[in-house]
Symmetry: C2
Subunit: 363 residues, 2 copies
Amino acid sequence: MAIPDDFDAWFRLLQTPGLGREGARRVLAAFGSPDAALGATAQALTELGGPALTATMARREPECEARLAAARAWLAGGDERHVLTLGDAFYPPLLLQTADPPLLLYVQGRASLLAAESVAIVGSRDATPQGLANAREFARELAQAGLSVVSGLAAGIDGAAHEGALAAGGTTLAVVGTGPDRVYPARHRALARRIADTGAIVSEYDPGTPVLPEHFPQRNRIIAALSRGTLVVEAAPRSGSLITARLAVEAGREVFAVPGSIHSAQSKGCHALIRQGALLVESAADILEALRGTRPAAAPAETGDEAEDPLLAALGHDPATLDALLARTGWPSAELSAKLLELELDGRVARLPGGLFQRRIAG
Amino acid sequence: MAIPDDFDAWFRLLQTPGLGREGARRVLAAFGSPDAALGATAQALTELGGPALTATMARREPECEARLAAARAWLAGGDERHVLTLGDAFYPPLLLQTADPPLLLYVQGRASLLAAESVAIVGSRDATPQGLANAREFARELAQAGLSVVSGLAAGIDGAAHEGALAAGGTTLAVVGTGPDRVYPARHRALARRIADTGAIVSEYDPGTPVLPEHFPQRNRIIAALSRGTLVVEAAPRSGSLITARLAVEAGREVFAVPGSIHSAQSKGCHALIRQGALLVESAADILEALRGTRPAAAPAETGDEAEDPLLAALGHDPATLDALLARTGWPSAELSAKLLELELDGRVARLPGGLFQRRIAG
């Protein structure tokens, strides 16, 4: 993708010290473009935001031009390197719907995937082995169902989620808190390369930006905002994954959480989310049902085929007593009662006054 | 407790074939007492319920008098044996608030416990070892907090719940689906004796009533109705515990469920309940908080003492930059960021525009 004509102006606007994304969006809204904002007169700026805004807009980050040159060099380094501006026609629509969309997004890989239907899978860096296996399996099934899997390339759950999607031959996006040219943790370098080959590495930080802990909660907001829903597989009570979940809720997206043992610290964050309204999920089918309104056809049916149930056959469509059913089926009383209870709980048999049982037809 | 004067009339009314509890409550409401209902004229009965009711009320269960004599003999067999009628002043108030209160309740043990504040603990007969341990621990802590533990004397979770309450020196009630003189399963005979010694065995079935599978869902309604809330510790997707939970909801009571591994069949019923609105609980403290509005003082505080937090002390009450906090604390950057994140999630620190952090005071 060619570098957009107005990239330099976007870059310089964003690097204005003390302006921030919110300030940048404000001057963009007022002046129409980053070029116009950077060229606005002191009078116009003072009218918009008082002398403070005029002073801020006059500031220049000393290393801005060097960083811009580095960014242009990185972008020129390969066909699979892209930058999207907030004004780009291909800017991801779901991101636009959130309160704090990034002004620039650097992408290494398939930029079109940013607009694909996706689910975020996040969780603890110190995950349990079962948590890692669960993350892989959820990612594998979601990818097989055609969803992209978004995560943060971190150790633990994040890495397992990317691996699961790749193992299914699906696509996965890694939203990183460093520049798009850096990999953290370093042991995920091979994983990052595989993600970039078939999916995408995404960052709002310009190339060369090192690991800065304060960037991670910011990165989490992009993970939440890019996705139709966020699944938290394992999380300690106070952890970054819960920030991602909170940001997903604020963006009006679904939050899903995997329950676990009440004795596992890594499940307590998930349990807290469920108590706050997150959907408890046991399988990818639960997520697909919530997002698409239907369970995937491949999921195992929870109830047997009604036509084949021998007790429903014995019951027919008229009320019958327990004695009659004992005689018809020839089953031991306990087994018959257990089976009747099961059908009653299924809503397929009703218990009538007078000890009678009757078949119920759904719908 | 002496046998109530009108016990024979209650017994005979309830044994009228085809009348049922609903029919019995109807004639009681119309005629004022079981004696008056049994002595009502054909004309009065026909006016109330047509010829069908008159025919029903004329029926007599052939073994009724023999069963009545057996019930009186059982009641006369010990000071700790009682029967409560629906009209009794000591009839449990919570039971009266439900749609289908038992007309007679046989009690072996402390009848006054029927009115004590209680929580039901129910679950699978085929519980996992961890499920049994959880049931014991929840029961122990609830009993220590002064609540009675109600369960069904069944194998598995029920037995563990009774054991846990007894181990804490607390009180526990077993609502059984047999007559009060029978124990099912037989291996719970010693447990039943210990329950009767300090708590109570409760049944709506007259002495001598054997194990009838169709009685168990009926028994479950009494467990749910006697209790302020019902805790399901482990349950398969279609099981009697889910009936108890549904009946608790219908009676306007709380339902609590313990989450577990998504790979355990014995947790799937609990997960289904949570999805339907049951409160996910990790400890007895969660239940006590839901029922009493406060967490027990003994529960470990979830947040540290604010006065003692060194980072909050370093932050003071004015906004500060990360650099300033690095200088004040002398901590490594990663550690400082992690701790700030923790305080932010706790709601005790706010992240302001411009990279500033500020202390937040609750309330």
